[in-house]
Symmetry: C2
Subunit: 148 residues, 2 copies
């Protein structure tokens, strides 16, 4: 009888923590009257770091699929936070750029992300955070290999 116990399952607790962290982030966002979702923040983050990414490149960076990146970027474009420019060399593709308004909001979003990290990680020292990070990256490799 291979029975799983969710109370002691790391997998399960990763899922729960992810949900709770996202809730904290949502709350901080709404307290700061930022009409942005955590996933939109994720896209803005990468476009702020490096402009001119395509939808496909964003897909890789964000671990999302084309469909979702497509829809998230549409919303950000409507909100005036990014621009989608047809690539003249490859007319199927877009190059995405963050706008000045997008950069403004991204600055605030960095503060919110910083705050939510402080809340979630309070009482966990730096070496332990390193261990957790290292092992989460290990889990990402494991799962990535399996899904290939």
């Amino acid at each position: 009888m291979n029975k799983v116990n969710l109370e002691t399952s790391v997998n399960h607790h990763i899922a729960l923590s992810a949900i709770m962290i996202k809730r904290v982030f949502y709350k901080i966002l709404s307290e700061n009257q930022l009409d942005i979702t955590p996933e939109q923040w994720n896209v803005l983050y990468y476009l702020s770091e490096s402009g001119g990414l395509t939808v496909g490149e964003l897909r890789e960076l964000t671990f999302k699929d084309f469909a979702n990146v497509s829809r998230i970027t549409q919303k950000l474009e409507v909100a005036g936070l990014i621009e989608k420019v047809r690539d003249s060399a490859d007319k199927r593709a877009f190059k995405l750029f963050i706008t000045d308004a997008g950069e403004e909001i991204t600055k605030k979003l960095h503060l919110c992300a910083f705050e939510s990290t402080n809340i979630a990680m309070e009482g966990i020292d730096a070496p332990t955070r390193e261990i957790i990070l290292k092992n989460l990256k290990h889990i990402l490799r494991n799962t990535d290999n399996y899904l290939k």
Copy 2:
């Protein structure tokens, strides 16, 4: 300038790991022709452990909100995997019970969950898993306190 770096953010990697683990689980479920979602598995798990829970009790156990538990249990009921029985003492509430068909599927789901754990955690030794689990529980307390 408080700038967050997602590449070294534990928060962010928890979110990514959660998504990837869920994808692995989805894949295993579909390979086993189990027409069940990870969230439905979660509900089945608790109803298998202890029958007669209300929607509200399930909500607490699963970290979901009423709306979602309500919809998930509706689908499981339609699929014949659980039963919702009006509580005679409190006619607002239901008592939920897993059916024999639900128990059958739950057995298989335990195996799938076990398998997905093995895939995600491969190469991470037991003491390290303990450390991760302990700290994820710490994060759950931190976030829970903040959201209160």
